[in-house]
């Protein structure tokens, strides 16, 4: 195999990573500003409408629809413009993270997901792309903050503690299964992240913070979120996408294990926790069609499933010793 490393490209990749994190943090701040402010604006508008309605006995709603009256489109309020700018920055951040991954691959002449730093970057990228697809409607923009928080936590951990210099991978990883197995698992994990976030928000929406008369900052934020039903549907649809993808990832891993380690399944800690996570997600799908489990309990199961994925990523790779301990961190 080619063991030359293009140092220049590797450096550009690192810059793209840093740039991506900075841009995403900025995007998150802008989106958070929108989330925090626009609610109060809407409340003001409602109060005005209410006051007018008292005076004109309900004629206000019709006023805007009178034929012949051209209503100038109101300039988008400041907070909305901030939110839109934030969303554009999110897209820029995704592009930069993608550039970081591609440049890593070009500099090392291999699939750029051969250690934990690279794997987490790819998973974060998959999560962001999945969110960009699922949350493409403008009314879902409020959800972006909650996707960006865990992704940025992951990227910070990978960049700060798990950074690995561009290098060839060890012989056990030199297989055409590396691009297949790891990318598929990464895609599944990234989409599960979106599902987990949607389930957490669903539970928030269903909690006392989501009640119409709830007071407090958290309640104001929760009120900004889409309906519980929509959140639930996002969680379900992302999970039924990620469940078979992750299943295929595990099976590809088993096929590779047969080739590399001499057996397709050996209850290595990583395999065991992948099995656990898969069973939990299977339980989620069963819970969805079991009376009494449909709503909140199913959402909890989904969150536990994502917790198992996170546990599998960090605890199993960094704390226990198994065949997947090739993280590049000693």
């Amino acid at each position: 195999m080619n063991t030359d490393i293009d140092i220049g490209l590797a450096r550009y990749s690192d810059w793209a990573f840093t740039g991506s994190v900075v841009i995403l943090v900025l995007a998150m701040l802008l989106l958070a500003v929108e989330l925090a402010s626009s609610r109060s604006r809407r409340a003001d508008a409602r109060e005005l409408v209410g006051a007018a309605a008292v005076g004109t006995t309900g004629g206000v709603d019709l006023a805007d629809n009178r034929p012949g009256v051209v209503i100038e489109e109101a300039a988008a309020p400041f907070s909305e413009r901030v939110g839109k700018a934030g969303l554009n920055l999110v897209y820029l951040g995704i592009l930069l993270l993608g550039a970081c991954i591609v440049l890593r691959g070009l500099s090392t002449h291999r699939a750029p997901w051969g250690n934990m730093y690279e794997f987490i970057n790819l998973t974060g990228f998959c999560g962001l792309v999945a969110a960009a697809v699922v949350l493409r409607r403008p009314q879902y923009r409020a959800l972006w903050v909650f996707v960006l928080v865990p992704v940025l936590v992951l990227l910070t951990i990978s960049g700060k503690w798990l950074y690995t210099h561009a290098a060839p991978v060890m012989p056990a990883l030199q297989s055409y299964w590396l691009p297949i197995h790891v990318s598929v698992v990464s895609l599944g994990s990234g989409v599960f992240l979106v599902a987990g976030v949607a389930s957490i928000l669903f539970l928030l929406k269903m909690s006392r913070f989501g009640e119409p008369d709830a007071q407090g900052a958290l309640a104001r934020v929760v009120a900004k979120l889409p309906d519980a039903q929509i959140l639930d549907r996002i969680a379900y649809r992302t999970t039924i996408f990620a469940f078979p993808v992750f299943g295929f990832g595990v099976i590809f891993g088993a096929i590779w294990a047969e080739e590399a380690w001499g057996r397709y399944w050996g209850w290595d800690p990583k395999e065991t926790v992948s099995f656990i996570a898969w069973v939990i997600y299977a339980a989620y799908l069963h819970a969805r069609s079991t009376a009494g489990w449909r709503d909140k309990k199913a959402a909890w199961v989904n969150i536990v499933g994502f917790a198992a994925m996170v546990f599998n990523l960090f605890f199993i790779n960094l704390v226990t010793v198994g065949l997947h301990s090739y993280a590049g961190v000693n």
């Binding site: 088993a254 080739e259 590399a260 339980a283 226990t320």
Partner: protein
């Protein structure tokens, strides 16, 4: 469903100690270490089989119950599904506008013509047309594959379990260390040919697939950091008819490229160094031995091991012989790095090999009948003064040391060895087949949606030559996007009229 849910949770929960506690099937010595470190809780864990989770009675019970529940749940569903496959779609409800999705269009033609056109738009649906007086009703249904996929998924799990079980019963795995010097190698004639052998309950070791392997060389490449970039080994093998004709075939064995022969697989699993020592006895006779050392540090391949060398026959009397055996134990570094007198290794490749050894004289205990580790001397012999340390030295290649009585010990260098694994699993291809049907069934059951559509075509009454078409639809699973689907159908029905 509730039962399955609870059992799935138990299955996930039951597997957790398998990830958190050391497991005998993976690493026996780590289990022992854990037991030594936790003298109170350890034995209790052991009693609960927490070190053998995946063969424990309770884990077996969970998945056995899960599969019983699966069969109990799915068998009635097969019956019902096969019945529904023969059934005709149900008649249209009286009031289609009460259905969750509803549309009405007016098209030209007679009711029968319009109904035929609508039927054309519902190609691939199972449909039935019922005519009463001047009203034509179409009932259509699709998405039968969903339930089929679901059933295939669940029964594939059953097949998967059976295939895994058969593989475990009839399979075996053996590991053997072979010097990579073109030497005699090994033949897989019996479990005794392997250094370690794990076999299923139905393997008695008498009918292993016969093959012989000799290892000609081993090559490893490393980055300057010491990280390995490639391992490969040229081997010769013979199996099947070649054994009778004595034909050897060559193969380049690499990590990720096992040798597949006769349904068995041979893997390159590890490598290390086997140092060579020559002992010159006082009468001038020499004994040379090459013994594999255990790589203690996989990064630098600093290895430890022991050699036990018998004096030449006739040099000593029988009791004297057991007082003059030579034992050598210590460290081997492929690239030596000295910290004072302490030997360590700075690089895994053999650039500047050296050993730091203790040399003993006395009884090596090889004919005592007690088994010993290959990689270390029996410490009891040292404690009992039956084996006495004569020298502690560091040697580089070619250096020798005098033991004081004319016996010389020389370090000659080292040979690489490879750790080969022979694996046999007659059912693993079926595991793959069932894994694939399982995923196929899962995909079908997640992608296919069950839909019901009814169309009622009746005379419009107002304009002659036109008919009213009323459409009603029901999404039986996953109704997202269903609204647009029905609207599109109504649109197509209207457009088909114009075309």
């Amino acid at each position: 469903m509730g039962t399955a849910l609870v059992l799935l949770f138990l299955l996930a929960l039951g597997a957790v100690p398998g990830a958190l506690l050391p497991q005998r099937s993976l690493n026996e010595s780590k289990v022992q270490q854990y037991l030594n470190q936790h003298p109170v809780i350890g034995p209790w864990f052991d009693r609960l089989q927490l070190f053998d989770v995946f063969s424990s009675f309770w884990f077996t019970a969970i998945y056995a119950l899960l599969f019983i529940s699966l069969v109990g749940c799915l068998t009635p569903r097969i019956v019902e599904h096969s019945r529904s496959l023969r059934a005709t779609p149900v008649p249209a409800p009286r009031n289609l506008s009460r259905l969750p999705r509803h549309a009405a269009v007016t098209v030209s033609g007679t009711p029968a013509e319009a109904a035929a056109r609508i039927g054309g738009q519902l190609r691939g649906w199972r449909r039935v047309t019922r005519t009463t007086d001047d009203v034509v009703e179409i009932s259509a249904e699709k998405g039968y594959l969903r339930e089929f996929g679901n059933i295939v998924f669940h029964f594939s799990l059953l097949g998967l379990l059976a295939a895994v079980a058969i593989g475990k019963l009839f399979g075996y795995e053996g590991n053997v260390i072979v010097l990579a010097n073109g030497g005699p190698g090994f033949c897989s004639a019996s479990p005794a040919a392997f250094d370690s052998f794990r076999a299923g309950n139905n393997v008695d070791g008498t009918s292993l697939y016969p093959m012989c392997i000799r290892v000609n060389d081993f090559e490893a490449n490393y980055l300057p950091t010491g990280q390995a970039t490639s391992f490969s080994s040229n081997i010769d093998y013979q199996a099947g008819n070649d054994l009778d004709t004595g034909t050897w075939r060559s193969y380049r064995l690499e990590v990720n490229h096992p040798l597949r022969v006769g349904g068995d697989r041979v893997y390159l699993q590890g490598h290390g160094y086997a140092p060579t020592f020559t002992v010159t006895f006082p009468n001038g006779e020499q004994r040379t031995q090459t013994v594999q050392f255990l790589p203690n540090d996989l990064q630098s391949l600093l290895s430890s091991g022991a050699l036990r060398i018998d004096p030449p026959a006739g040099l000593y009397t029988a009791d004297q012989r057991r007082k003059n055996q030579i034992a050598i134990a210590g460290l081997f570094a492929p690239t030596q790095q000295m910290d004072g007198k302490l030997l360590s290794s700075s690089f895994p490749a053999m650039r500047d090999p050296a050993v730091a050894v203790d040399i003993y004289r006395g009884d090596t205990g090889l004919d005592s009948g007690r088994p010993q580790s290959l990689f270390s001397l029996d410490n009891r012999l040292v404690e009992q003064k039956r084996l006495n340390k004569v020298k502690r030295v560091n040697l580089i290649v070619g250096q020798q040391v005098d033991l004081g009585d004319g016996t010389m010990v020389r370090f000659d260098g080292a040979t690489e060895f490879v750790n080969l694994q022979v694996s046999h699993d007659p059912a693993q291809v079926w595991v793959l087949v069932f894994a694939m049907t399982m995923m196929g069934g899962l995909l079908v059951s997640l992608v296919v949606r069950r839909r019901r559509v009814w169309a009622r075509v009746s005379d419009s009454g107002s304009a002659p030559g036109t008919v009213n078409v009323e459409l009603g639809g029901l999404a039986r699973t996953d109704n997202s996007g269903w609204g647009e689907e029905l609207d599109k159908l109504a649109q197509r029905v209207a457009e088909a009229d114009r075309a």
